[in-house]
Structure formats: C-alpha cells, structure tokens
C-alpha cells in the first residue's frame, strides 16, 4: 500500500498544535485524516461521496429492518405450530 504523503498544511490537521481548533476536534474524537482526504476532493466529489454514503446507510437500515421482520415472522409461526 502506498504511503500517504501530507503537505505541511495538511499536517496541521493530522498532527495539530495544542490549543488549535484541529486539536479540539481530534480530542473530540474526529479522525481528521478522513477530513484531509475529503478536503482533497472537489465540493462536488464530496457531496457525491456523502450521497453514496447516505444511500448505503439507508440500504443497510432496510436490510436490518427486513431481517428483524423475518425473524419476528419466523418466531411467530414457530410459536403457533
């Protein structure tokens, strides 16, 4: 796997100085390496990525709900047997 090379400016997000907003975000739990990779994209690419992510989560939710429903249906039919 290729090593990612960060610019000096990007390093201010990856390895922030104490007291900066980036340091506060990192301490809050934000993975700023993901933010850096997002900032390398154009705004359109970022929103497309967001759109794809949203679609995947909705699909996942649908699958989980469908699985729960099937589980309930199975349990209910076994109980009536």
């Amino acid at each position: 796997m290729d090593k990612v090379i960060y610019t000096e400016r990007e390093m201010s997000l990856i390895d922030p100085k104490p007291g900066t907003a980036a340091a506060a975000a990192r301490d809050f739990g934000i993975d700023l390496s993901l933010t850096v990779s997002n900032l390398r994209l154009t705004p359109e690419q970022r929103v497309k990525r967001l759109d794809g992510f949203q679609a995947e989560i909705k699909e996942l939710r649908r699958a989980v709900n469908s699985s729960k429903r099937n589980g309930r249906d199975r349990a209910s039919s076994e109980a009536t047997r």
């Binding site: 201010s12 975000a25 705004p43 929103v47 967001l50 949203q54 679609a55 909705k58």
Partner: protein, 171 residues
C-alpha cells in the same frame, strides 16, 4: 441516483432560488459527517414560491412529523403563511427554511454563500463561517457534534487562504 442528488436536481430543474445549508453544505465544505436530508434556505418572493410548490408537488411532498389528520394544502399561500417546513417526498426528506437561525433569511444566506457545481448544476452553498454560526445557534446535539470538525476546517481554510492572496472566495 441517491436522495441528495435527486433533491438537488429537482430544485435545479424547477429553477428554485435557494441556498444549500445544513449537512449537505457541511459536506460540500469538507465535513465527513453523514446527513439524511437536504436543507435549503429559499427565496420567498411570489415567483419562487410557485416554483417551490410545483417542485414539491411533483414528488408528492407531505409534511414530515405532522399528524396525518392535519390538513395541509401545498400551495404558494401556505408557504407564504409559514416559514420553515420539513417535508417527506418520494425522493427523500427536503427541508425548506425561510430563515436559518444564526444567519438570517435568503438574502443573508445568499450574501454569505459561494457558487459550487453539484451534480452538474450550479448551486449557492452557505459559507463555512455561517454554517458554524447556524449550527451553534441551532444548538441541538446533532448540530453541536459537527462543530469541532467544521471549526478545524475553517482554521485550515483560513490558513490556506492567507497564503494565497488575491482569491476572493468566502470560506
């Protein structure tokens, strides 16, 4: 095409004058946080209310979170009487804001926005500074959790901008 793309395409196709705000704007500005609806601040002149109404009718918009027995007629008059609306539509959730807390109405949002091309259409997108102001003013937990990343991006963009003179671009 997923929901964000469809919602933005709808607004563009019906030539709705609006500024993209909320989670999609945050995403366009670099935030990695997920969002599940499209929020826009819309112009409230008569022409635009007609465009908004036609756009929303075309995707069978209904009020989100309102009891089903409350009658709601989607027309210009109803939009004129209200301000902020949250809709469920055939293509996902669309929130129409006449006013964005911490920023103001359409004119203020427009003034504090940049044009960005999204899904092939030109859109005005709220600036990072005003996004932060709006999230802070909204003050809900879901707004507050995105603030640290937005503030880090603002700090980064401000540092980048100060190194590149002559660029007239709102952050």
């Amino acid at each position: 095409m997923a929901e964000i793309a469809q919602a933005l395409k709808l607004l563009a196709d019906f030539e709705v004058n609006c500024v993209v705000v909320g989670g999609v704007a945050a995403g366009a500005r670099g935030s990695t946080q997920a969002t599940f609806d499209v929020d826009v601040c819309y112009a409230r002149d008569q022409r635009n209310l007609v465009q908004v109404t036609q756009a929303l009718r075309s995707v069978n918009a209904t009020l989100r979170g309102a009891p089903k027995n409350i009658p709601f007629i989607l027309d210009e008059e109803t939009l004129q009487r209200g301000l902020n609306f949250t809709f469920d539509t055939d293509i996902g959730s669309i929130d129409l804001l006449g006013e964005v807390r911490g920023v103001g109405g359409y004119a203020e949002c427009l003034q504090n926005s940049n044009e960005m091309e999204l899904f092939g259409y030109p859109f005005r997108v709220l600036s990072l500074r005003e996004l932060i102001a709006s999230k802070r003013a909204a003050g809900r937990k879901k707004d507050l959790v995105v603030l640290p990343e937005l503030e880090a991006i603002l700090e980064y963009e401000t540092a980048c901008k100060s190194n590149s003179s002559g660029i007239d671009d709102k952050i």
